[in-house]
Each structure stands twice: as structure tokens, then as C-alpha cells.
């Protein structure tokens, strides 16, 4: 029967997201609404501040993808002021970037996404011996694949359940027919959920070494704050460096022998999800991981480009500085542009909050009107998907051998063709394959750092333009990165040594965007259309597709105000 279902809050994400889906008579989603329901106004707060401080404010956009906004911010300010950071700083930033990406992807898979595929309650029925046999088959190199180990985990789980206090596991969709894993696979996944939870706190120590803490390590305009002194006892030296290396080695083990085997094992039980959730078919990347400075885009490990309509034979160029390419629309967002304009490039971005949604508490949004705190970013007027799948496709379509190798291997193991990538499961698999590339690149970057130090260069900061007295009266710049969730751009306008304007276009704004003026759906909405929902009261299928994007809503919902202009009072109807 046709009906409208609401999922709010969408849990196991960062921030606040609401999804409404319209089911047709055959219980397939025929239309969907994605709404960001929070806004913090960070760009307004940034105005008038010292641009060298901006990274710290921006980093607080998100504590899950901590570092990515700081990185984009220092790059935007450096671009604006004409600063080139030393090679060591570029490499250390790459190391911090990859550390975050790998750790974040592992957390996403085990702690945010896995429970969409893994039935925790079913794990209670597992035979520990059979689970050990399965685990040995799935990952022969992983040391804890023993009967005793799984017996302990099963014991922990059963006593936890028996206590009657199920905590975060209560009232979920357990027993739903969409869960296809046998009990042994469920038990293995639950065990690895706990192992990954223990491990995730380790890799980030790399951030602590170079940035002093995690979450929210410190960044610096002009380089990195952690000085290197190979013969010193109070800066980065061989003790710190070998700790970094050890942490990377452990991460390689986790990704190769835990994450990837688990991902492929789980995926093999859900072949139908290679045909569901494809969505837009348009993909965009700014690229990242400079090997020869941020200006040499061709040498990035993550290539830049756009793919349209799933056409992997053509990669189109992207220029974040071209006002005709990236624009944000607001026809379905709770904002207002002056002069009735529809779309603005971030450098010219102007927004006034203008809440016209229903007065809370409310039951339903109206997709024919404004319905989100997210704007609708578009590339040359087209909606785009960003993120791991976009990046893997861009590398694949750009002919990069390392990408082809991991993608081909995974497709072979799952016995599917490349078209399987355009799906919910394809997105989830791409995140794993990207982690595989990233964790080995992490060691490569470490080796590059060592080689550079060995060559006698231990410089970590360029202070030529640190003093604001050296700055031009006015300048503009942009910075970008490939955050775990996709292409992230920051645009800054500096005037009289202060931030005059600051604008951020975030991956989840692309993916979770509402409709635009032409009625084009955002990536989440498009991906949900066509999905069958077995039980509208327990729509696990919606969670699967939404989680495959790894939503980050604190990032996505933001707004930018013009110079000195007060925000308009919001009228609640």
C-alpha cells in the first residue's frame, strides 16, 4: 500500500538527519526527502577573525572527520596569502590525512554501518567452533580465529543480553528477514566490532605525535607546528618516528586481515545490493595527496575530475576557482539569497537563514517547499555524488594501475562485473578498497618523510608570511581536500588582515543535498528511489543505502553571511 515513512533520527551517523520516503503500491520507494535538521552558523562566526585561527574553528565543524576541515582551511589561507609549505609539512599532512581516512573508514564499517547487515541477536545461536572455522577461512592470517576466543565472545554477548540491559543494541531491527548472514558470520562480525573498537584508538596516536591530540589535532598556517630535530630530545626524533611506523604497520594488518576479509565475507551474502542504491551516476573529486606540492594536481594520488552518467571512459576537468562550475542553490533550503538569485559560487556566497518549515513538533516535511538546512551544491548545474566510490571510479577511469588492481581483485572475489560498483554495496566496498590503498600509501608517505629527512631537510614551516604586516590588503583563496566522505572545499576572502568572507562546501552537502530549482534530487534521495522496503515499520533498507554514504551532518549544514550583515530573523510559521 502506498505510504510515507519517516526515519528521524537517522542514527549511526554524525549530526542530525531526517529521511522521508514515499512507498508505491509494491512497497518500493518512488520518491525520497533528505533533510539536514541542524545549523550552527560557523561561517558567520568566522567573520572578522584572524585567518591563521580559522583552521581551529573549522576543525570543530566535525569531530568524526577531525582534521579534514583544518587541512582545507590552512590550504585556503595559504592559497590566499601565497604561502608554499615545506615538503616535510606536505608529507606530514598527508600522513595525518591518511591516518584519519583509514581510522574513520574502519569505524564506519564496524561501528556505524555493520549493524545494517549483521544481526547481533542471531550471533547468540552461533557455534563457536564453526565460527572459528569460518574466520580461518575468511582471514587465515588473523590470529584470534580460535574456538576459545569465539566462545568467550559468545559468552560476553549472551550474558550481556541476559542482563536485560541491551543498551545501544535494544529495539533494533533484529530478526528482520533482510538480515542474511548465518549465525556464525554474525558472531564473527560482533567479535570484530569489539576488536575494531579497541584498535581505532591506536592509529590516531599519529595525530597526537604530530598534532598533540586526537580528536582535533593542531594544524598551522605555513606548515606543521611539530618541529623535527633528529638529534634533539624534545621534538620529532627517531623515537617518535618509529612509533608512527609501528602504528602504520598495525593498521596495514587490520585493514588487510580484518576489514577487507570481513567486508568481502559480508558482501557475498548480499548480492542483490549490487543492484540497489546506485543513484545519480555522477561523481566528482577535487583530488588530494600532493606528491609535488599542492599546485601540481596531476601528481596527486587521488585524481581530480568529474564522471557523468557512469561513463568511465571520460574524466572531465574540475576547477574549484571557476565561478561557473561550482554553485550552491537554495530553492529547497531554509535560506534566502538577496536579489532573488538561485545559485552562487562560494566566493560570492551569501545566505540568510530563513526557516519556513513547519513549527516543531511536526510530523512531516513538504518537499515542494524548502525542507532542509542543507543547500544544494551543483557542478555546472548537475547534482554530484562525492566520496570513496567517486574516488575509486576516478582512479579507475583515470587509468591508475593501483586502483585497477584492488578494484579488479575485489570484483573477482565477489564474482561481479564493474557495473556492480554503481550501488549501495559498491559504495560500501569502495570505502574498503580505498582503505586498502590508503593504508599502504600511509607507509609510502612515511618512507618519503624519512627519505627527505635523510637528505638533510628537516624544515617544517615557512614563516615568510606569518606576520600579518606582510600580507596584501586584500586576497582570496581556496583550499580543498578529499575528506573520508568526499570532496571538501573552503573559500576565503581576507581583507585588512581579517576574514571578510568564509565559505565551506562539504561532502555531505553534496550527497545529502535537497532538490534544486530544476527538481533534481540530491545523491541520497536519488539512491533511495527504487529500493524495496520489506517492512515499512522497520526500514533497514533505507539505513543501508543512507549509511553507505557515511553521512556527516554537522559538516553539511552551514551557512555564510555577507560582510557585516545581520542574519534575518527567522519566522516560524
Amino acid at each position: 500500500m502506498a505510504q510515507r515513512i519517516v526515519v528521524d533520527p537517522v542514527t549511526r551517523i554524525e549530526g542530525h538527519l531526517r529521511v522521508e520516503a514515499m512507498l508505491d503500491d509494491s512497497s518500493h520507494i518512488h520518491d525520497a526527502v533528505s533533510s539536514g535538521t541542524m545549523w550552527r552558523g560557523l561561517e558567520v562566526i568566522l567573520q572578522g577573525r584572524d585567518p591563521r585561527d580559522a583552521w581551529a574553528f573549522c576543525e570543530r565543524i566535525c569531530g568524526v572527520c577531525t582534521t579534514v576541515h583544518a587541512l582545507a582551511s590552512v590550504r585556503a589561507v595559504e592559497n590566499s596569502l601565497g604561502i608554499t609549505v615545506p615538503r616535510n609539512a606536505d608529507i606530514i599532512r598527508n600522513i595525518m590525512f591518511l591516518t584519519q581516512m583509514v581510522q574513520d573508514h574502519v569505524i564506519h564499517f564496524y561501528h556505524l554501518h555493520a549493524l545494517d547487515w549483521v544481526d547481533v541477536v542471531s550471533a547468540l545461536k552461533a557455534n563457536p567452533g564453526a565460527t572459528a572455522a569460518l574466520a580461518q577461512k575468511v582471514s587465515p592470517s588473523w590470529p584470534t580465529a580460535t574456538e576459545g576466543y569465539f566462545k568467550d565472545v559468545a559468552g560476553t554477548l549472551s550474558k550481556f543480553v541476559a542482563s536485560g540491559q541491551l543498551g545501544i543494541f535494544q529495539n533494533a531491527y533484529w530478526g528482520h528477514p533482510a538480515y542474511k548472514l548465518p549465525p556464525e558470520a554474525n558472531l564473527m562480525a560482533v567479535a570484530h566490532y569489539l576488536e575494531a573498537l579497541k584498535w581505532q584508538k591506536e592509529l590516531v596516536k599519529i595525530h597526537t605525535i604530530f598534532g598533540g591530540k586526537n580528536p582535533h589535532p593542531n594544524y598551522l598556517v605555513g606548515g606543521v607546528a611539530s618541529a623535527i630535530a633528529l638529534n634533539g630530545d624534545n621534538a620529532i626524533n627517531i623515537e617518535r618516528l618509529t612509533m608512527v611506523k609501528g602504528l602504520i604497520s598495525d593498521a596495514i594488518n587490520i585493514v588487510e586481515n580484518l576489514y577487507i576479509p570481513d567486508l568481502l565475507a559480508v558482501a557475498s551474502f548480499y548480492p542483490e545490493w549490487t543492484k540497489i542504491g546506485g543513484g545519480l551516476g555522477n561523481y566528482m573529486c577535487y583530488g588530494d595527496l600532493p606528491q609535488n606540492g599542492i599546485g601540481d594536481v596531476a601528481k596527486f594520488r587521488f585524481p581530480r575530475g568529474v564522471i557523468l552518467n557512469k561513463n568511465l571512459s571520460e574524466v572531465l576537468p574540475v576547477d574549484p576557482a571557476d565561478p561557473a562550475q561550482i554553485q550552491e542553490e537554495i530553492s529547497h533550503s531554509w535560506y534566502r539569497y538577496p536579489g532573488g538569485k538561485d545559485a552562487l559560487h562560494p566566493w560570492d556566497g551569501v545566505t540568510e537563514a530563513n526557516y519556513t518549515g513547519p513549527k516543531p513538533p511536526f510530523k512531516q516535511l513538504d518537499e515542494n517547499k524548502a525542507y532542509s538546512w542543507l543547500k544544494a551544491p551543483r557542478w555546472k548545474g548537475q547534482a554530484m555524488e562525492v566520496g570513496p566510490l567517486a574516488r575509486m571510479l576516478m582512479g579507475f577511469a583515470s587509468g591508475r594501475a593501483d586502483y585497477k588492481e584492488v578494484v579488479t581483485a575485489a570484483l573477482g572475489k565477489l564474482k561481479v562485473g564493474p557495473e556492480a560498483l554503481f550501488s549501495t554495496l559498491g559504495r560500501t566496498a569502495a570505502r574498503g578498497l580505498e582503505s586498502q590503498l590508503a593504508v599502504h600509501w600511509l607507509m609510502d608517505e612515511y618512507d618519503r618523510l624519512i627519505a627527505n629527512l635523510k637528505g638533510g631537510d628537516s624544515t617544517t614551516a615557512d614563516t615568510q608570511f606569518w606576520d600579518p604586516a606582510t600580507w596584501k590588503p586584500e586576497s582570496r583563496g581556496y583550499g580543498f581536500t578529499e575528506a573520508p566522505r568526499g570532496a571538501l572545499g573552503h573559500w576565503v576572502h581576507i581583507k585588512d588582515r581579517k576574514i571578510a568572507n568564509y565559505q565551506i562546501v562539504v561532502p555531505s552537502t553534496w550527497n545529502a543535498s535537497p532538490r534544486d530549482g530544476k527538481g533534481q534530487h540530491g545523491a541520497y534521495e536519488a539512491a533511495l528511489i527504487g529500493t524495496p522496503v520489506a517492512d515499512p515499520k522497520r526500514p533497514v533498507e533505507i539505513l543501508r543505502t543512507i549509511h553507505s554514504f557515511d553521512p556527516c551532518l554537522a559538516c553539511a549544514s552551514h551557512v555564510f553571511g555577507p560582510d557585516g550583515e545581520k542574519l534575518v530573523e527567522v519566522k516560524v510559521r
Binding site: 528521524d8 533520527p9 542514527t11 549511526r12 531526517r18 591563521r52 569531530g63 598533540g212 554537522a554
Partner: protein
């Protein structure tokens, strides 16, 4: 609630944790709370008899860095807390359920454990325009916070957002974001500030409450004294360089490579109360100053508006007292505190100069500014 809930030890024992492992677990808990070894039996007794307290963990305007920090805890680890110490019944970030099922849980816990559950708040509530800047399940977060706080036993305000307001509350605070204590005024509130707080500080606060069945002693800004009792400056391993007048003057200079004091680069250590130099971050790996960046003062109220971060703290204002407690410092503005440090520096050198004239050695214990 205690009849129906097993104690932490009962749960641990049921899954085959032996007495020896349990003892080690309690010892590490005691250590994180800064307790002497003689207190370990008390911790064990508490863990043997206390039920798992239900916790509702709300998320308002925030960035989830507090949750991320929480799961980084090395002692106790997050798994122990979630499986053995508390019953984390509602938490949008980690919850398996979604949508209406998850809201059902919140309402059920509020009803079944009226007056007994702990409310943890990450982030804060926008108060402007009827709270439309943060809505969950079609309801304003402002209302959800009030509703959930009404029957809570106590509130733990995680991080700078819930404690003081943090970044969305910085000028001009476009959404009217306000910390928990500005909205809820009739409940005990423990502020655990920092952006984020140190993971072991977060878990330590919970462990203290569960172990001793009481709320920790707080300073005048509502922070537990056990973690926020002393200034970073006073515990900093680089303090000797401050006293010796050895400073980083610019990034990557000789002083930076030698790990000298970051005061001139804007360090807020002298006005910031936190455990960074002692507990450190990520299982003792380092802390901001230890990795060459100044402290930005993230556990202090309104620290975002005390910038620019790289500007040395202000001077030319009279000294409020060199060795101040947080309560004393809290009574003065941060700029005054900054001035205090400058004066502290000046007075130190004056003292030192005076002593030189007197031909006496410098007394490292004399930090009162008085020439003995």
C-alpha cells in the same frame, strides 16, 4: 533499580572474567581517578555491588568530537564502559535502532528509571527562533533537552559545547546556542569541558560517580576538581624554559626544535585548567604543547573569543594573584589572567634579578613572587 540489574562484577564474572583480571581492572580504574592503592578495595566493592546505571546520551549542536574522544579511552576502554559499567540506552551516534524505535527507547527509560538515569549531553541547544536550528524526530532539541532532564538523576555536560557553549556560541552566536546550565537549572550538572575533553577524563568522571555513588567535587565553573584543579602552566614540562626565559620565537626556530616554552606564540597554558600535561592525550602519547603547538585554552569558558590564538596573552592590567585557584581566576576576566601571567613573568625576572644582586641562588619553590 538495583534489584533488576546485575552489578558490574556480576556481569564480568558471568562472562568468565576471573578475580585477578577484575582486580587489575579496578586498579586501573582507581589509577585513572588519581586514587591511592589503598582505595582499590573500595573500587572493587563498588564494582561488585553497583548495578549498571542507565544513561541517555543526547546530541545537540555539536561535532561529535566528545563521542570520538570517549571511545579513545585506554583505561577503562569504551567496551568495558558500554558493556560493563553503564547501560548506554540512548545515543544517536552508536545506537543500532533508528527513527521511531529510538525515540521509544528514550521515553521508556525516562519512565522506567524516573529519577535514576544519568543524562549525558553532547553539544548544546540553540534557543533562538523556537529552537529550529536543531531538531530531532521533528522536535526541537531545546524541548528534548528539557523533557529528558526533568527526571534525570544528574547531568554530565560533555565538552566545551555543553559546559560553556563552544564554537557555535562564539560571537555573534547566530543560533542563540546556550550551554546546559543556562537551560537546566534544577539538576546537578557536572561540566566536563575541553574540545573535546581528554578521553580518560570523560571515562574517569563516570567511573568516579559509579564507584563512589556520589558526584565529584566541582570548582565554581562546575568542573571536577580532580581533573581541572590546576593550571596547565603549573604542570607543564616546559615550565622550566618559561622560568629560564627560553622561548619559541617563531615556528621551526631553534627554540621550537629544542622544545622551549610556547608562551610567546600565544600559549593559553597559564590561564587554562586541565589535565593535558599529566594525563596527556591518547594513552599518554603527547599533548598539544608537547607536540609544539600552543594550548588554545579549550577547557575555559568562551575560549573562542579570547583570540587571536597566536597573540601573546594581553598585558598592562594589574595582577590578580600569581598562584590563583580556578575559583579565584574565574572571578577575573581572562584578559586579566593573561595579564597576571605577564606580570608573573615580569615578577619572576624581577625576583631573579634581585636575587642575583643579593648573590643568592634562585629558589625554585618560591613562586609567590615574594623575594625571600
Amino acid at each position: 533499580m538495583s534489584e533488576r540489574l546485575p552489578s558490574t562484577y556480576a556481569v564480568l564474572e558471568q562472562h568468565g572474567v576471573d578475580r585477578r583480571t577484575f582486580f587489575k581492572y579496578c586498579t586501573s580504574l582507581a589509577a585513572i581517578m588519581g586514587l591511592e592503592a589503598s582505595m582499590v578495595p573500595k573500587v572493587m566493592a563498588a564494582m561488585e555491588t553497583k548495578p549498571r546505571i542507565p544513561v541517555i546520551w543526547l546530541h545537540g549542536l555539536e561535532c561529535t568530537c566528545c563521542s570520538e574522544s570517549f571511545i579513545r579511552s585506554s583505561h577503562p576502554i569504551a567496551q568495558d564502559i558500554v558493556l560493563n559499567m553503564i547501560s548506554l540506552d540512548y545515543d544517536d551516534t552508536l545506537q543500532a535502532a533508528a527513527g521511531e524505535q529510538v525515540e521509544e527507547i528514550r521515553k521508556k527509560i525516562m519512565k522506567d528509571y524516573k529519577g535514576q538515569y544519568l543524562l549525558a549531553v553532547e553539544g548544546n541547544a540553540p534557543t533562538r527562533d523556537g529552537g529550529v536550528y536543531c531538531m530531532v524526530a521533528g522536535q526541537s532539541f531545546l524541548d528534548i533537552l528539557k523533557e529528558t532532564a526533568a527526571d534525570a538523576k544528574a547531568i554530565v555536560a560533555w565538552g566545551a559545547c555543553a559546559s560553556y557553549g563552544c564554537v557555535q556560541n562564539a560571537r555573534p552566536n547566530p543560533t542563540g546556542a546556550e550551554p546546559v546550565h543556562k537551560i537546566i537549572t534544577n539538576k546537578p550538572i557536572i561540566n566536563v569541558p575541553g574540545c573535546p575533553p581528554i578521553s580518560e577524563v570523560m571515562t574517569g568522571v563516570l567511573a568516579y560517580i559509579l564507584t563512589f555513588d556520589q558526584l565529584p567535587e566541582l570548582d565554581r565553573t562546575g568542573r571536577p576538581k580532580m581533573f581541572y584543579g590546576q593550571r596547565i602552566h603549573d604542570k607543564c614540562y616546559r615550565r622550566a624554559f618559561f622560568d629560564a626565559g627560553q622561548f619559541v620565537e617563531t615556528w621551526d626556530d631553534e627554540g621550537a626544535r629544542k622544545g622551549w616554552c610556547l608562551y610567546k606564540m600565544g600559549c593559553r597554558g597559564p590561564m587554562t585548567y586541565n589535565s593535558c600535561p599529566t594525563v596527556k592525550w591518547n594513552a599518554g602519547t603527547s599533548f598539544p604543547i608537547g607536540s609544539g603547538h600552543p594550548c588554545i585554552g579549550c577547557s575555559e569558558p568562551n575560549f573562542w573569543d579570547h583570540g587571536p590564538f597566536y597573540e601573546r596573552m594581553a598585558d598592562s592590567v594589574p595582577l590578580p594573584g600569581i598562584e590563583a585557584t580556578p575559583d579565584q581566576v574565574g572571578k577575573t576576566l581572562a584578559v586579566l589572567t593573561g595579564a597576571g601571567v605577564t606580570a608573573h613573568l615580569a615578577s619572576y625576572w624581577a625576583r631573579r634579578a634581585g636575587k642575583r644582586v643579593a648573590g643568592k641562588p634562585v629558589d625554585p619553590e618560591n613562586t609567590t613572587g615574594e623575594v625571600k
